[in-house]
Amino acid sequence: MANERYTIGNDLWTNLLEQWAGKFRILAPQREKRGLYLRPVTRENSRSIVYGEVRAAQPLKTFLLPPLEDVTGPPADAAAPVLFLGVKACDLSALSILDRAFGGDFPDPRYQTRRNAGLVVSCDCSDPIETCFCTLVGGKPFPAQGFDLNLTPLEGGFLVAVGTDRGGALLKDVEARLAKVDKSGEQAATRLHEKTEKNVNRRNKEWTLSGSLKNRVSGEWESEAWAKHAGTCVECGACNHACPTCHCYFLDDITQKRLTRLRGWDACLYSGYAVTAGGGTPRPRLSQRFRNRYFCKFKYLDDNYGQCGCTGCGRCIEGCQGKIDMRATLQDLKP
């Protein structure tokens, strides 16, 4: 059933959502005072889900790799699978980094359980915001892969693209009532894609980041841009924590009745991040830690996992207390 494309009307969609709610814990974007937030779908809020627009505030790692977790306690519960609804292309791209990082030679059982039991029903963006820059890092504001199902908002419903067999199975009970997408549906989807992509490009027209960003960053170890743009950094780690691909962690042991080993999000901007027992650190200066974050995003992660570590979601820009814009830093590096 993978690769099938259907149209689904709003009424049938509501039906389907109710069915899913019985099997999954559904997390979907809801509008709150300060933006879109992934919240559990309930009977009360299911009609106010924001499908298109833009990515939610929280990156998916919040749920797959909680900020602080006992990693020696009971295993993650596969019986409580999460269905992520309305995930955007930038966050799907981030998932593929996390999948590689926590699925390699030493697969992480908690991440694996959550990921394998969970499902991703993504949605195209329709209203990018000023911090969006997926198209500068080779992305698009609509997913091409990595989803179980993808939704394209249409007049009166959605175009549903099936990405995996598990995604197809989500539609099984309503399959007979689904219509194969017709030409006008495909045209409407293409129009939305083009319009949204243009919108992202328009918001980024002041940046001229042509060529490979990996080469752009890699060649500029000595650049003055690092110290310049780190100038307003207050080392809060918000960029790290908000980033959907940052996944550095610390381990901390607490012994009460038994040994509890906690895994928590770390941040490479913190001065103590790489400090060894003797007090030494390879990055004593803030500008060096700042530079490391860019090298990690644009070079090291690419070397490790074959994919740029920045998805252009813009959360680091939005969360920065020092008004640091990653695009401006990149712009200051010589192409």
Binding site: A277, P282, N304
Partner: protein
């Protein structure tokens, strides 16, 4: 044997014996609950109750899996707590992690070990392995530098080591009882003659010592691919996830800790 439910799960290891080496260095002889197999140069994550975990390379022979020895200097928060532990106390160990020394690449070669401070513990594990099949290798020369005579570890084994390898020792600062060489470990290298074409050098020690030893070896004519470095960085997971130990794209915990210098030489700030 139960499969650990988590990659972070350690197995208990009782401290059977504590050997005081110097004022600030002790050797802990551990009896792990289950045999602990490793290759020399690999490391383990050692749990110190109420303190946390830290990575240490065993100083014992990898051919002994019932007992594990770690020789540890009291330098930071966790090592201080470790030094407060008593015989009979229980620690945790998990691992082994990392690549270890490539003994096959050393076969048939003259080996020059350049060792500083508490680089001796993993070097001792390497020596145990080398000496077990001594015929596989050419000459073995070990140059060891300690800060002062009081900081020299394994004093009770040095005569035995001298009988089996060419062992040169120096201290940065002498005391009245010291009649040997004074100066940093690279000063010993001036007196070492090796067959450059058929040699390999191994460097283990603190970062500054490793940097200058590597530069000295290059000056002596060693090629980058003949120099093997056991690298160190802050480390948590040991399994290539937490990213604390990275040098450029390399995970020291997974791609290392032993690197050939030709893999690192063009990377910035490797001596951290």
């Amino acid at each position: 044997m139960d499969k650990p439910t988590s990659p972070y799960q350690s197995q208990p290891a009782v401290i059977e014996k504590i050997i005081p080496e110097t004022q600030g260095i002790k050797t802990f002889v551990l009896k792990p609950e289950r045999p602990f197999s490793f290759r020399c140069g690999q490391f383990a994550e050692v749990t110190i109750p109420d303190a946390g975990e830290a990575p240490f390379a065993p100083s014992s022979s990898c051919h002994e899996t019932e007992r594990l020895e770690f020789t540890v200097q009291n330098v930071g928060y966790m090592t201080k707590r470790l030094h407060q532990m008593k015989e009979g106390d229980t620690l945790g160990v998990r691992g082994p992690y990392g690549n270890g020394f490539p003994l096959d690449e050393f076969g048939g070669k003259e080996l020059l070990l350049v060792i500083g401070g508490v680089g001796f513990p993993p070097a001792r594990a390497l020596l145990y392995s080398l000496l077990r099949e001594k015929d596989r290798y050419g000459r073995i020369v070990m140059c060891y530098g300690a800060r002062t005579p009081a900081d020299v570890v394994y004093k009770y084994q040095l005569d035995e080591i001298r009988r089996q390898v060419e062992f040169l020792i120096t201290v940065d600062r002498a005391d009245s009882g010291w009649s040997g060489n004074v100066g940093v470990v690279t000063t010993l290298l001036d007196g070492v003659k090796v067959d450059l074409a058929e040699s390999a050098a191994v460097v283990i020690g603190p970062p500054v010592m490793m940097k200058f030893s590597t530069l000295k070896l290059l000056e002596m004519g060693f090629k980058p691919k003949q120099i093997y470095l056991s690298m160190e960085r802050k480390m948590y997971c040991g399994v290539g996830q937490c990213r604390h130990c990275m040098i450029d794209r390399f995970f020291i915990c997974k791609d290392g800790p032993v690197f050939r210098y030709d893999a690192l030489k063009n990377l910035p700030d490797i001596w951290g």
